[in-house]
Amino acid sequence: MNFLDLLYLIPLFPLAGFAVNGLFGKRLGPGFVNAVGCGSALLAFVFSCLAVLQLVEQEEPFHTNTVFTWLDAGSALTADGLLAEFSINWAFYLDPLSAVMVLFVTGIGFLIHVYSIGYMAGEDGYYRFFAYLNLFMFSMLTLILGSNYLMMFIGWEGVGLCSYLLIGYYIARQSAGDAAKKAFVANRVGDWGLSIGVMLIFFTFGTLEFTGVRAALADGVESGAFVAGDAVFLAIGIALFIGACGKSAQIPLYVWLPDAMEGPTPVSALIHAATMVTAGVYMLARSNFLYQMSPEAMMVVAVVGAATALLAATIALVQNDIKKVLAYSTVSQLGYMVLAVGVGAFATGIFHVFTHALFKALLFLGAGSVIHAMHHEQDMRKMGGLKDKIPVTFWTMAIGTVAIAGIPPLAGFFSKDEILYLTLTGGHPVLYAVGLFVAGLTAFYMFRMLFMTFFGESRADPDVHPHESPRVMTVPLIILAVGSITAGWIGLPAWTPDFIAAENHFEHFLEPVFEFETAGGAAAESAAVEEDHTLEEVLLALLSVAVAGIGILTAFTMYYRASDRPRRLAERWKTAYALLANKYYVDEIYDTVWVNGVKAAGTGLWRVDARVVDGGVNGSARLTVESALGSRWWDRWIVDGAVRFIGGFVDTLSWPVRLIQTGHAQNYALLMVLGVLILIGYVLW
């Protein structure tokens, strides 16, 4: 069987799972729901593996699987005045980049489905949860496998919807509803940018297919029609990046992600740590050829990434909710990935996406296991001493913590260190310093979490009796822990002795996706690669391990045993502590400026509607009525008045005349005689 032509099945399995569970899940019970939900995710994983295996055997690791023409809205003039057809195929595209994404999304996705069987047992609307989870898988796979920007956009919006539905899963909670809405609207702001970017791409290249855009760009570069640094590439780069800021929680749109922890913990692991939030990084990496045309846009991306990494890491230092620590840590790690893309280390960014997916999913699922054990307690101040009570959870989480802290040979070290190294060699010493500092902070807050949760005396309520989670939850933890240890080894740095690895397999695999010659840039790049940097690289690696070590040591001295050092420190640096504990008041500022601003504008315009526009309408109605009354008055007093006046006038004038019109014959005779006499008198005169 040619699995590459069955790519469309990969998202279709979970879609079918969604339909079946959504329609019949309630009636058929949890056993059925589990089978359909997990089964469809597993099928997607198996088919992904088979397809990727066939892909790597091909000479050229690219494959497009077109299903049908989806949207055909007529011709359009492009920026060059050429006529293009706005015709979009429902098509899937597998290349090394989507291969990496699809493998870990389906793999980790499947594990989290399994884990949810244990975690969600007995929850209301169990079938609904699995249906949404499947719908998410469908959307995410469409996002990754779509062969053009519009397909990606469908998946992009779809995962946003599922995120909304799953954050708001505990529907009765006001905070869940608020968080869900906040996530959707913040993402919509990003989508606004993304959709503008997508349209600009079509307007510039006349196509939205990734391969087509790339080919058109390469042609344009060759013919000189496109030059690196053109304004259009800056515009596209910034517009797409606004989208990435929404989905991948970067400044200024990151605020939704910490709130998204309102959702059930498996959701936090799957959507808000491992997969969906990396969609922005994926999209940036997918658009690498466009970014390579705009150094300015790259610079913006890199700076925002580094700033986000720093901001989120500082907030994470003082959080007490175990999921909030992990949430800010996710934002911070996403910052690293975005930084990688910004300095042009696309493959390394994706490498970190991959390793992070493993250890962060592990950490979240571990946190879920802790919360499960603690009867839904999330506050680390009420934990402590759990090490021996839930040993599997402890050991796996410890592995995840070491991995994220950047200690070799665990996964996080290789990807993060590569990013830092390439940031420095890319000519960004300041960003490197920020990244290095954040590495120290990361080690600190992660070990703080580990110590507060698992070490020291128990601070839990006496009636809470922690118990290890069922195997259906711990087995996924163990698998992910193994992954967190080993995943880095597929991308060993250049300084690794050749007998271990002759090259960085991961980056070599991704190379075809990111080779793009922007004319001029390429030559300098290859020159840089030629030189031997082994010594520097090893020294820098040692430096980052040392920084992480300092972070761990600090956490150890402050949190390993109960002490009042953290409290004293917080009191001494009151303002700084308050600033961090309140997350720099960003939520409050956004509320005041944006939410209230928009509401005030709405209210104001509504008043305009009622007073000005309707005022005009009602005014003209009033005017009509008034003028009708006026005409009545005019009619009565002027028109009729004139008539009556003439009547009266004639009447008045006529009274002397009337006096003589008595109707008595003798009067007339008398008058006649008088008249005759006067006449005679006159003649005789």
């Binding site: 690219f62 055909d72 050429l82 779809g158 297919e209």
Partner: protein
């Protein structure tokens, strides 16, 4: 299917009227029979229109099909002339479908003067269909006016507390527009001999001395003197802009919607507003192309104002119906934005979006009506947590909310995206401003949804509200299916619109299609790889 020998459009148009006339003979005591009959007639009205969809020749979707022409008032050149192209095809089908749904939705809520109600509903149906099928200005105007009367009574008799204010406001507003529209039509009519003289060879095709023939004007309109075009455009503009409604002629809409009975709102939003947009594409654009181009900045400005203004005002509404009404203002702003981008993407999106708006907003009014039937209030603050007791209702409401905010794979996106594409091709800032409407759209719709559906039931009056019954499901399911159909596979709809749209663009911008087509797509690496593998 061969419908050439059947006066299918006359049947579709006048069937509801015939049904209404029969209905008048019923005893008003027998309410069961009355509503049964009305439903049968409305359903039959939809069923007879369905063959149009299959018999329509999509290859020639720009041409008027199913034509019927009879002399009516020969001394004035008035004819009975009907026909539809791809644009009116979709509108006719939307009208017959929404008509049947609206009648069905009144099953329980209308008890008072049921006979008169259904007579008016059916008359309204004929009036609306007549507008969309007329190819003669005189006839068009007759239907345009006829339709006002039943709507006036529907609001004025079966409406809410301020029904008289709303009814009169609606009537007068539209009447003002109609008068100007009539002036425009008469101006064209009296100019005809002059333009016929200017373009004798085209006039010869029609062979008329005086005419109200819309097709003749479409052919010859461009020969009108530009100054005159400008004035006629302005007259038409007022007539159609009030119907759309465009800012600042929109304030009749929230009042009319809030006061109208549910079915009235569905028809009002679903069909009546489309007469404005239909008027623009059928008359203003093709007959007055020079003036159209001149008015573009003005129209686009009003469209963008409507998108943002409508959305902001919708956000702060306390009544569910007026929220949906203001959202209509915003959505119709999108329709106008796409239309006056005057390119194929914009127009295609715009024409599809007016259908989408009929589906989504129609469904949203039904959804609000259903809850109003149960609680006799539409105050958002009265509700909360309904999803726990009305799960089916919650699901359909969610789907329609998503459709309204333009989520891909639902219909709204299929309109919005091409519209914004079209806008961007003309001026990137139009798209940037227009697209902000989708952010605001998400905000107000999700806020509405959260306040009514999420949370706990905290109002004791809402406890024990029944979920959707079979009849209510029957009114909503067709719209849900359509929403998904258009969202997932819009090709049949775009196929109907593509021809008329290209023709419109050719009339308004003569050299648009003369640009060089983009070079054939370069062979993507994938194809090379596949070829290599095949060997």
């Amino acid at each position: 299917m061969d419908l050439n020998n059947v006066p299918i459009l006359s049947i579709v148009t006048f069937l509801p009227l015939a049904g209404a006339i029969v209905l008048m003979m019923f005893s008003s005591e027998n309410k069961g029979l009355i509503r049964l009959w009305a439903n049968l007639v409305a359903a039959a009205g939809f069923l007879v229109s369905v063959p149009l969809f299959f018999a329509f020749d999509y290859e020639n979707s720009a041409a008027m099909q199913f034509r019927e022409t009879l002399s009516w008032i020969p001394s004035l050149g008035v004819r009975y002339s009907v026909g539809i192209d791809g644009i009116s095809l979709l509108l006719v089908l939307l009208t017959t479908l929404l008509g049947a749904i609206a009648v069905l939705s009144s099953w329980e809520s209308i008890q008072h003067r049921a006979k008169e109600y259904y007579v008016f509903m059916l008359m309204l149906q004929t009036g609306m269909l007549g507008v969309f099928v007329s190819l003669d200005f005189f006839m068009f105007y007759v239907f345009w006016e006829v339709m006002l009367v039943p709507m006036y009574f529907l609001i004025g008799v079966w409406g809410g507390p301020r029904k008289l204010y709303a009814a009169i406001k609606f009537f007068l507003y539209t009447l003002v527009g109609s008068v100007l529209l009539l002036l425009g039509i008469l101006a064209l009519y009296f100019q005809y001999p002059a333009i016929a003289a200017a373009a004798p060879e085209i006039a010869a095709q029609f062979g008329l001395e005086r005419t109200f023939d819309i097709l003749a004007f479409q052919e010859m309109g461009p020969f009108l003197n530009p100054d005159l075009q400008w004035w006629i455009f302005l007259a038409f503009f007022v007539g159609f802009a009030i119907k759309v409604p465009m800012f600042p002629f929109h304030t009749w809409l929230p009042d009319a919607h809030v006061e109208a009975p549910t079915a009235g709102s569905v028809i009002l939003a679903g069909v009546l507003l489309k007469m404005g947009t239909y008027g623009f594409v059928r008359f203003s654009l093709p007959i007055l192309p020079d003036a159209t181009v001149e008015f573009v900045p003005f129209m686009i400005a009003l469209a963008i104002i409507a998108i943002i203004y409508g959305a902001l005002v919708a956000m702060m509404q306390k009544d569910m119906k007026s929220l949906v009404a203001y959202s209509s203002v915003s959505h119709m702003g999108f329709v106008m934005l796409g239309m006056f981008a005057l390119n194929p993407n914009g127009l295609n999106g715009s024409l599809l979006q007016q259908i989408n708006h009929g589906i989504s907003t129609g469904a949203l009014f039904l959804i609000v009506g259903i809850i109003y039937d149960r609680r006799h209030t539409r105050e958002i603050a009265e509700f909360g947590g309904l999803s726990s007791i009305m799960p089916k209702y919650a699901v359909i409401f969610a789907i329609m909310t998503m459709s309204s905010i333009g989520l891909p794979l639902l219909n709204g996106f299929m309109g919005e995206f091409p519209i914004l594409m079209g806008a961007l091709q003309e001026n990137i800032w139009w798209a940037v401003a227009g697209a902000s409407g989708i952010v605001l759209g998400a905000a107000y719709m999700l806020w509405l949804y959260q306040r009514t559906m999420f949370g706990k039931i905290d109002n004791p009056k809402n406890e024990g509200l029944p979920d959707l019954n079979a009849r209510e499901m029957a009114t909503l399911i067709p719209l849900v299916i359509l929403a998904f159909w258009i969202g997932i596979y819009p090709a049949p709809f775009f196929r109907a619109l593509d021809g008329p749209v290209d023709r419109l663009v050719e009339i308004v911008r003569e050299d648009y299609f003369e640009a060089n087509p983009i070079e054939a797509e370069l062979t993507p690496p994938a194809a090379v790889a596949a070829a290599g593998e095949a060997e």
